[in-house]
């Protein structure tokens, strides 16, 4: 409701005033496009790109260079957006090797780099002289284009909150490795959102160059101006639909007052503002507790996951997913041959072979540090094994990425649960449904179906709860539901029962049994609790110091002297 009002007001500006107010509105719109497009990478995907302004500069230069050669204005603007996009594509390769503060830092370093390029490539950029433009200043058209760009940016933000792509970004923000093992190919996603944001920045830059009629390196690549839109988005609240808009309106006004009333030390005042935002409001104004108590304003602080799930609470009669066929072409679901995983001189998994038939449940046991989780990591391609082969239903997993392996039908849980923390239960499961290999669901359908998986696993009453606020047991249940939602052929379950009460363990066993009996899922279960294993497993594999000690029934394992030694030490040894 607020947003249409703001934009109607913005659209009316050229009819009301032609001088100062118009100039001010143009600067606000330009800042808004930058702040909003910046927030796609930061607020959604969790990458703080401090060099966003550099793409504004690339757009401005592309426009200015082409326009001074007589290219039409529209083509110049399009070229500005395109140039910024291509630059982002190229820079994706080095930059996405980094995360967190490192990423923020390297992107900030882009500004001085581009400034040097603009200064030194004098043949193209005219260096420090800058490029003067003598274009007709059709101010209303220019204003209309900016307003259109701002509206499009809002549209993209809404779309990102309600699309498969947006969910992929939120998964990436929380845990890239889990996003991959849930079937998301992360690099193209990160690259795409980076390019999209840069295209908008380039567009705004091209229009700015047209508006100013002149550009030189410091105006578009200076550190002091570059951080303004970012500070605005963060001040409002990064990741919130209304955050960048509120931030631009308030800080834009403050900035304008500073410029007009402060003769010296403007940068200091701005730096102080940035510092204070960082110190007191890093989550943004809209996320402050005080604001959440004001009725109207509280609705502005709506987080992306604040929506009511549409699940009826009824599991229904249809199966959660079509069960795996019992008679596979290949007689083995998993065929591990001589897998070795070395870290430096230490072989965490040393020449392990393992054959598993469809519908089997295998217990994988061994003392701490015997290589159980490392073997899981090799199978799900979290690690690339040093040598050996892993074949899933006749398909070799060599040279497969984590997301490809997930698509082929390997689902897994983690020993220390790793749900997507700032997403709700239903979103966690829905992401697996959207990105699974076997008949992936449309995001709307996935959000409904996810409720059934939660109900099946026993957390149907916690659909709208943020995953990081769940109890340990519920986190484990959620991970199991998420892994099952990917319709796996082979499920790797890592110590789900440790730390649980006997009742809870029994519930888990029932879940595993249902997964096997109803959906034909083959399971490897890493666990220390022998009585729990005894209830369900067909076979047990004992690892010790990375090698396979024995394979057989539980009784054989318990009575095996070498297994006893591995667990309790040999006879006569001091306890």
């Amino acid at each position: 409701m607020l947003m249409p009002l703001v934009f109607v007001a913005a659209a009316a500006v050229p009819f009301v005033t032609q001088s100062y107010g118009l100039a001010f509105s143009i600067s606000l719109l330009s800042a808004f496009i930058l702040a909003q497009s910046w927030d796609w990478l930061d607020g959604k995907a969790g990458y703080t790109n401090l060099g966003h302004f550099a793409f504004f500069g690339v757009g401005a230069y592309a426009f200015a260079i082409l326009s001074s050669k007589g290219v039409a204005i529209y083509w110049g603007i399009a070229a500005g957006a395109l140039a910024a996009m291509i630059t982002a594509l190229v820079l994706s390769f080095p930059l996405f090797r980094l995360r967190g503060n490192y990423f923020a830092f390297a992107t900030l370093a882009l500004l001085p780099l581009f400034e040097i390029l603009a200064f030194n490539l004098t043949d193209i950029t005219k260096g420090a002289d800058g490029i003067p433009l003598s274009l007709p200043r059709q101010i209303n058209l220019l204003y209309g284009l900016l307003l259109g760009g701002a509206l499009a940016a809002v549209g993209v933000s809404f779309w990102l909150d309600r699309s498969r792509f947006g969910f992929a970004l939120k998964a990436i923000r929380n845990d890239e490795q889990v996003a991959e093992t849930s079937g998301i190919r992360i690099f193209p996603m990160k690259c795409a959102v980076f390019m999209l944001g840069s295209a908008f920045a380039g567009f705004a830059g091209a229009i700015q160059a047209w508006y100013l009629g002149y550009i030189d390196p410091p105006t578009v690549f200076g550190l002091d101006v570059a951080l303004i839109p970012i500070a605005m988005a963060l001040f409002g609240g990064s990741g919130l639909i209304w955050g960048p808009l509120v931030g631009v309106l308030i800080l834009g006004t403050v900035h304008d007052l500073l410029l007009t009333h402060l003769p010296v030390l403007q940068t200091t005042a701005y730096g102080l503002l940035v510092l204070l935002i960082g110190r007191f409001l890093p989550g943004g104004l809209l996320r402050t507790k005080l604001l959440k108590k004001v009725p109207f304003l509280a609705s502005l602080a709506q987080e992306h996951h604040d929506f009511a799930p549409s699940f009826s609470g009824d599991l229904g009669a249809t199966p959660l997913f079509s069960p795996n066929a019992r008679t596979e072409n290949a007689s083995l679901v998993l065929d591990v041959q001589g897998v070795v995983m070395r870290f430096g001189g230490n072989a965490a998994v040393n020449d392990v072979s393992l054959q598993i038939k469809p519908g089997e449940v295998i217990g994988l046991v061994g003392p701490n540090g015997s290589g159980k989780t490392t073997l899981f990591n090799c199978i799900s391609k979290v690690y690339e094994p040093t040598s050996g082969s892993i074949v899933l239903s006749g398909q070799s997993l060599a040279s497969k990425r984590r997301d490809e392996v997930a698509h082929l039908g390997i689902g897994r849980t983690y020993q220390n649960p790793r749900p997507f923390g700032d997403l709700t239960v239903i979103e966690n499961i829905a992401i697996a449904l959207m990105f699974r290999g076997r008949d992936p669901l449309h995001h709307k359908q996935a959000l409904v179906e996810a409720g059934r998986f939660a109900e099946f696993a026993g957390i149907g009453d916690k659909l709208s709860v943020r995953a990081d606020t769940l109890s340990l047991q519920d986190k484990k249940v959620l991970e199991f539901a998420r892994a099952l939602a990917s319709a796996p052929r082979l499920l790797l379950v890592d110590e789900v029962a440790s730390g649980l009460t006997p009742t809870e363990v029994h519930r888990f066993i029932a879940l595993l049994r249902a997964a096997r009996d109803q959906y034909g899922v083959t399971i490897i279960w890493v666990e220390h609790i022998f009585w729990a294993l005894a209830e369900i497993v067909d076979r047990i594999v004992v690892l010790e110091s990375g090698t396979k000690l024995m394979e057989g029934s539980i009784e054989e394992a318990v009575n095996n002297q070498r297994v006893q030694e591995a667990y309790f030490g040999s006879k006569g040894e001091a306890a």
Binding site: R97, G271, G278
Partner: protein, 292 residues
């Protein structure tokens, strides 16, 4: 004759690289222990250089005297900066803390360079102490730079032993490897973080004074120094002093050769280009160390 030019350039690069490495030590130490990437790190170097230069030209204080005073002053500044602006952020969610640290240090960067330019003027300053140049055949070495490099190498060795054998050194290595484990071993984690930050800032003061004896410093050069230090950390590995020294020297030599071969106007861009290339080719760094 030709080879002499290159030799001269190499030596100039090594001397330059030593100072870069020294700037990187503080950044690396702070990041390794406190997990804070201080964006205003290089700006502090510039401020230190400007202050030492003013102290020399206006008050006649020799660099080592102003150096000692600055180490203490910067250490105190670092402690307070950490205590009041950075430490309170650790109570927030990880994402908010991360953003908060970036904004606080970037804000400090903008403020410090602007205030320095306002008070001391934007013109470059240096400490004009000069000794007779050393001549080795055709090679001419600035003895100031040679002394400075010798000082840096001594400091590296001293730091190495300090970090390895002193209580403080052992404690911060423990914290950098496992902060929680260190805390339950009765190492006061928070105090240590503050002191490490202060220690890193103290190192910066030394770097600033040495820098100003060799090259002019201006209030706006800070961020490009931070970029160089960051490149060195990526090349040399976090917390790896020897790696940082080698990486610093490598960067210095590459910059000095590049300035000669493709023009000095490109020199400030070398470190960023090198950083981007390294990230693609060898993200774990050249001299081993942890991946970024």
């Amino acid at each position: 004759m030709d080879i002499t030019i290159y030799l001269q350039l190499m030596i100039g690069g090594i001397l330059l690289g030593g100072i870069y490495a020294l700037v990187a030590f503080g950044l690396s130490l702070i990041y390794g222990v406190v997990r804070i990437l201080n964006f205003s790190h290089g700006t502090l170097v510039a401020i230190g250089g400007i202050l030492a230069s003013l102290a020399y030209t206006d008050l006649g204080l020799p660099p080592y005297v102003s150096g000692i005073a600055l180490v203490l002053a910067f250490g105190l500044f670092g402690r307070l900066f950490f205590q009041f602006l950075l430490e309170p952020l650790s109570a927030r969610t990880p994402k908010e803390a991360e953003i908060g640290v970036v904004l606080v240090t970037v804000g400090a960067l903008l403020m410090m360079s602007d205030i320095a330019a306002f008070l001391a003027g934007p013109t470059p300053k240096n400490i004009p102490v000069r000794f007779d140049p050393i001549e080795l055949g055709d090679l001419i070495l600035s003895s100031t730079q040679v002394y400075a490099l010798a000082g840096i190498i001594l400091l590296t060795v001293a730091l190495h032993f300090f970090l390895r054998y002193s209580w403080f050194g052992r404690a911060i290595r423990a914290v950098s490897q496992d902060a929680f484990g260190a805390t339950i071993s009765a190492i006061p984690g928070k105090t240590l973080h503050g002191n490490t930050f202060a220690f890193g800032c103290g190192l910066v003061a030394i770097a600033g004074v040495l820098y100003a004896t060799m090259f002019p410093v201006d209030p706006y050069m800070g961020f490009s120094l931070t970029v160089k230090a960051f490149t060195i950390i990526i090349l040399g590995g976090i917390g790896n002093l020897t790696g940082s020294l080698l990486a610093g020297i490598l960067l210095g030599v590459v910059e000095s050769l590049a300035a000669f071969l493709i023009g000095s106007e490109w020199a400030p861009g070398i470190s960023i280009m090198l950083l981007l290339i390294i990230l693609v080719v060898r993200p774990q760094g050249i001299f081993g160390g942890k991946p970024a």
